[in-house]
Symmetry: C2
Subunit: 301 residues, 2 copies
């Protein structure tokens, strides 16, 4: 049985930051998510790549134990993104996006993967997110991400999807745009009324805040001396968060709270190097050590 | 013996936000700081007001038990500030500043107040902050605030002052400007090398982060449904933080951590109404109840 299924993009990223430049590194929401989640649970990917996708990257994903049964390889080129960050590092400036094979991506969940325990719908067209949800038996937990492009351009489709989503994981600008309100408490109430019982708002270097029913839980970002490339931090957060939960037998508030910290830990490792580099030879011991440091960061006796 | 001495401004603020407008309310860094601190300890103010300063405001400060021995009343008008906030509420747009009697303010510490246990140098000219420090016997703890105007215009004077300061409490933009670096971990190391062993960085709606020696402690902002007027939040944070510490017999890491939460609590109450309105009939019970909620906001079992 599939533990954690993710649908999203697998891409080749070219990124320039004040600390360097890397071309054609492994990127895309599903890559970051699955890599982060792989430290906690079994994860299966639904995505598409082109003929040019390097065997090296596939080998890496497999070596992390990631199930690639649902990764289609199609004629044409892999989705490519080129972006730049300034010293502020909070927002990427997109230089070029070439959707390539991703443009005609119609996710197909393999027969063997239609009863996942948990599902993450990474940031793609809400109509495609919906087709994935419709192909599987209702998972125990469905989480999704989205972006302003869909909030503005496909609002009815997104709202229809949200009715069947348990956890929405988005950044603060997106949350405000979706709810049409500047106040996050009001935003949470509006979004919760639209479907998701839990709203997780990512605030980059300021951490993450989770609204669930009438409770709030907040985790700051782990203070890092060097942030080389923020690309993928949000997807690594989601991967750590969902992966940790998938690895637990019970779903309760305390598990969600710990998952918030594990998500933060994975996001913090991700940004220390370009692309998935830092996640390539991380150990569970390093993860747990940072979890402890992270916990002490906010812990009152 | 004076427990907690503060030097700063006492002003009349006129503030417009998307939620209303109030004219000539009690404002100024020393007013906010002292009011917040008064819930935890005895606090004495060094400041100046003009002949027009309303008796009503004096009566309020006295009723809070604030010692006004050092509050000069001089010929002329009181310092007036007029500002506006947009829906973002994160930064005030100054419409008018009339320094009035504050322009020639030369703080004089009364004979009876020259041995304070703790001292807070609110945001005024670093040369004036220095003259206050020179008039008192070295307190157990000296904290100070500043702003970009002094960081840019009186950097040598500010750096000279910092050598004798234990805790610097500033916002993130100021911290980055002072250290000339975008990364907060590097910023902390640079500022700690300049004098203060503890750096507290205020990040508005994102909370507060404290760097002390090799340790970091972070507190998110308390999520509020309604923020009416952010003016004074930072000074109320400092007042709650320093006031709580002044009320404890021991200075240790755990006390500083609890003080971070109490500071956050006072800042969160301050912004719920215009000026000091919400702080005027607050009870210690309400403060402690919010402290508990606040603690749960980040607490992992």
């Amino acid at each position: 049985m599939v533990k954690l299924l993710v649908v999203g993009s697998v891409a080749l990223d070219s990124v320039k930051t004040p600390f360097g430049q890397e071309d054609d590194v492994l990127g895309g929401s599903a890559s970051f998510f699955a890599t982060a989640a792989s430290y906690f649970t079994e994860v299966s990917v639904i995505a598409v790549v082109g003929e040019d996708f390097p065997e090296l990257h596939l080998a890496f994903l497999r070596q992390r134990g990631i199930d690639l049964t649902g990764l289609e390889r199609r004629p044409g080129k892999t989705f490519r993104w080129r972006g730049e960050y300034s010293y502020q590092l909070n927002e990427a400036k997109t230089i070029a996006t070439h959707l390539n094979v991703f443009e005609t991506f119609r996710p197909v969940v393999p027969e063997s993967h239609r009863e996942p325990e948990m599902l993450f719908l990474a940031n793609i067209d809400p109509e495609l997110q919906r087709t994935v949800l419709e192909q599987v038996r209702r998972p125990r937990l469905v989480a999704c991400d989205t972006m302003n492009f869909w909030i503005d351009g496909k609002r009815p489709e997104l709202l229809r999807l949200l009715k069947d989503v348990d956890i929405l994981i988005i950044n603060d600008g997106e949350a405000r745009a979706l709810a049409g309100d500047p106040n996050l408490v009001t935003v949470a109430r509006t979004i919760q009324a639209a479907g998701p019982t839990t709203l997780i708002i990512k605030r980059g270097e300021y951490g993450v805040i989770m609204f669930s029913k009438d409770r709030v839980f907040a985790v700051p970002a782990f203070p890092l001396e060097q942030v080389k490339d923020p690309t993928g931090a949000g997807d690594c957060f989601a991967g750590g968060f969902m992966g940790y939960i998938a690895g637990q037998t019970e779903l309760n508030r305390e598990v969600f709270k710990r998952a918030m910290f594990y998500g933060g830990v994975m996001g913090s490792f991700a940004v220390e190097r370009f692309g998935t580099e830092r996640l390539q030879n991380l150990t569970r011991e390093e993860i747990d050590a940072r979890f402890q440091l992270f916990r002490e960061l906010t812990h009152l006796e």
